[in-house]
């Protein structure tokens, strides 16, 4: 079974802080994703990575950056957290680039920015 883990289930940060969200997958998947989930808006893609050090912007990349130094690990960075970044953040992975493979999700991190 694919396992995707996220470093924290709940996180509380202050406005202006730098925030790191970590995601690890154990199935040698090429693709990794960061989404945010907000009520009534469904899931929106923030960033996507298809290989080590490779990334593409998703639909809402503003205010975020990402890092993928190892194949199994994908980090989401909020350079200066703001209250409108309070949300649920979901990481996912899928097998091969350029194919609509099944995405497998982690448990999510609920981030609150005060």
């Amino acid at each position: 079974d694919v396992k995707v883990t996220q470093s924290s289930r709940y996180l509380v940060k202050r406005t202006g802080e730098k925030v790191f969200l970590e995601c690890v997958q154990d199935m040698d998947h090429e693709n990794m994703f960061w989404y945010r989930q907000d009520p009534g808006l469904g899931l929106r893609l923030i960033y996507f990575s298809y290989d080590v050090k490779m990334k593409e912007k998703g639909d809402i990349p503003e205010g975020y950056s990402v890092s993928r130094e190892k194949k199994e690990r994908f980090s989401l960075i909020l350079e200066s957290a703001s209250t409108n970044q309070t949300s649920m953040y979901l990481c996912a992975s899928s097998l091969l680039y350029g194919r609509p493979d099944t995405q497998y999700f982690g448990p999510g991190t609920r981030l609150t920015v005060l």
Partner: protein, 114 residues
């Protein structure tokens, strides 16, 4: 335009009732993939099914069944004899050949009352 509509925001049923969750999609592509995910209160999206556009056979898995109808661009999900453990948010998603991207619906919250 590519779009997924889950018009039912929230549904409440009493245990043992059957319930159908609607998913209507829009796409101009002839090759596409449809997915259903379950998000229980724990937060993790759990993969339920993946269906490609060339396979219109209905699928049954235990109490779950899916009705794919290209003529009406729908991919509806039915739970037979619902149980309290079925309480969750259910997401329908669409993807296309040659891309990694999913287009998610906004989700349907199902509450099964004992």
């Amino acid at each position: 335009a590519q779009k997924v509509t889950q018009a039912q925001t929230e549904i409440s049923v009493v245990e043992k009732e059957d319930v159908t969750l609607d998913c209507v999609y829009e796409t101009r592509d002839t090759t596409y993939y449809l997915f259903w995910y379950k998000q229980p209160p724990s937060g993790e999206l759990v993969f339920l099914i993946r269906r490609n556009s060339f396979d219109e056979q209905n699928e049954i898995s235990g109490r779950y069944s899916w009705n794919f109808q290209k003529s009406t661009s729908s991919f509806n999900f039915t739970i037979t004899a619902s149980q309290v453990v079925d309480s969750a948010v259910y997401f329908c998603a669409l993807s296309h050949s040659g891309t990694y991207k999913y287009i998610f619906g906004t989700g349907t919250r199902l509450k099964v009352l004992a």
